[in-house]
Structures are given as structure tokens and as C-alpha cells.
Symmetry: C2
Subunit: 195 residues, 2 copies
Amino acid sequence: MSVAVASSTRAPREPLNGVNTPTLFATINAVKDNPPLAKFTFRASNRWISGTCNESRVEVFSGAGGEHTHKAEFPTVADHPNVLVGEDRGPLPVEFLLYGLVACITSGIGNIAAARGVTLTSVESRIEGDLDLRGILGLSDEVRNGFQRLRVTFDIAGDAPPEKLRQLVEQSRARSAVYDVLTNGVPVDITINAR
Amino acid sequence: MSVAVASSTRAPREPLNGVNTPTLFATINAVKDNPPLAKFTFRASNRWISGTCNESRVEVFSGAGGEHTHKAEFPTVADHPNVLVGEDRGPLPVEFLLYGLVACITSGIGNIAAARGVTLTSVESRIEGDLDLRGILGLSDEVRNGFQRLRVTFDIAGDAPPEKLRQLVEQSRARSAVYDVLTNGVPVDITINAR
């Protein structure tokens, strides 16, 4: 997620690229005047189905001083592929991290381009991550469990010079929530109820 | 993703909880004998649709000495909700991180329970993350862009004492690829092609 815009640009513009730019600027100004509005809590739940297969869905989230319900629960199955002893009924859990990063930077590009008056033609990206299973399988204490590195490539086209288009991607990365979490980490508390 | 099992348990067991346990142990033994088989690269792509809306899908992945195609591309739309100037056509990109973490630990629980001979009745989890939009909006340099903290609760039931069920969750967390990435971070390289 990223709704970053150029800090020098606060004047309303017309909606562009499908972004309601006046609403975007109104949001920024509302938060500037009342910082507690900026506090959000996002929620999801998950239910085990069988084997490595399970399903997640979004839950009510809090923010802007209220509670909000998504238009749908967006139920999404995760599984392991056959080669990792699953039945391949959905993306691998680690692939959700890949989805999250490219989606976050791309959403931000949409907003930032609108705020800067750039009409986008296309934004496409590819992402890959290296993972050595010896960590997960408990076969080596020197190998980490997670990705060792992620590589992302963005192809962006629009009605601005290449350098300005490049800056849209860079600004979105600089204010991306997912990029921050993936590169810097986040504390995680886990509670277990067993019965 | 987690396929961790108790290191003391390597004898074949019958399939359990929908996990093909003999295949799981065969995989572990194959990797132990030939570590390069453990090297995987997972891939996804994303295409901007409009505004904050875009769609990700999985791509061919490499591992176990070969290339593998998922049974489907699992196209998944991401968007911002209305309150964050999107049209709410899919989960927020940051919500994919929530999906990834609970899915990864839950997939691992399925495997580890099977390896330890525990029949699961249910595994349900809830996750939430706090995010202060002032970071993303560029309104404060002291506020990070990403989640400040994640909280997860697991409810697990099965045919084992609560302490043994609790250990399944703990072992899955200890070998979870997503947990590792989210808590420790990962280097990310970004290439931009603008035209």
C-alpha cells in the first residue's frame, strides 16, 4: 500500500488513471489536521482445510476514526505445490509476499502518477525470490528459513519522460508499506490456544 | 511455507491430515543427500489495471533441479478500500502480508502434525497489524511506512494434549519462511525500465 504523493503538490487535480485525486488530497489534508485519523489496524483470518491447504479472508479494519468492512471477504486459498507435498490449490504462502510487494508499489504508482498529473499507459512487474529449503526442512542451521533475496523489475509507460516515470516508481518504493516491512522487518506476537 | 518436521522423526508414517507423509519424508531425505535440490526460486508478475487496482499471478518456479508450473496462475486482484481512495476490488497489498503469515504457519502445522502422528480437528487463526498512515502520506519522518506490530492468535484442536498441540504451532513458527522474512527482513533489488 502506498498513497505517497509529492510533498510539494497539494492542489486538487482532476481524477486521473482511475484515481480520485481530489479525494486523495482531501484525505492527506484531513490527516494532517488530525493525526489520530492516520492510525489503522488491518485484520485477516485463516482456516485450515487439509494438509498444507488453508483459506484466508479479510476482516473488519479500523482507521480514520471508525470501523470499515471491505466490499467482500476476498477468500483466498493457499497451498503447497506437488513438489512440496501439497495439492497446489492456491499460491504458496511465500508467494503472497511476492504479490504484496509488487501490488503495493503498483498501487502507489497509480496514486502518485495521478497526483503528479502523469497519465499511465501500462505498469507491469515481475518479482522473484530465492529460497533454500534446507532451512525450512531443518537440515542446516546456517540457511535461513525465508527468502535470501528478492528481485523486482518494473516496466512503466506513460505520457511523461522516462526519468519522470522512473521517479514515480522510486517514490512509490520510498513510501511503500510492504517494502518497508519486507526490508526492515516487523515485530510479531503470537498467542496459541490449544484444546 | 513451512515443511519443518521434528528432526528425530524420519520413519515413514501413513498419510494424515491430508498430508502425504511418506512423500514428505522422501523429500527431506532426497534434499539431505543432494543439497542443491533445496534451491528454489519463486516468481510472480503483476499488471496495473486502474487507480490503485492491479492483478498478480504466479509464474513458473524453479527448484528440486527443475522448472515447475503451478496448476493455475491464481490471478489475485489487489486494491485500496474506499477510505484509502481505491475501489475495494481486492485485499490491500499489506493484507497479503497478513494472509502470507497465517497461511505459512498453518501449512506448516498440517505437515508437522502429520509427521508427529497428530490428527488435527481444526486450526483457525486471526491476525492484525497496526499501520500509521502518516508515514505513507509523507506527513511524518518519524513514523514508519509499514506495520508497527503484528499480532496473531492461533486456535488449534486435535487428538493430542494441549501442550503437544501448542508445540506444533511453535515448531511451525520456528521454521516458517514467511515469519522469518517478516521478522528479519530481506534484501530487495528493484530495476526500473521506463519508456
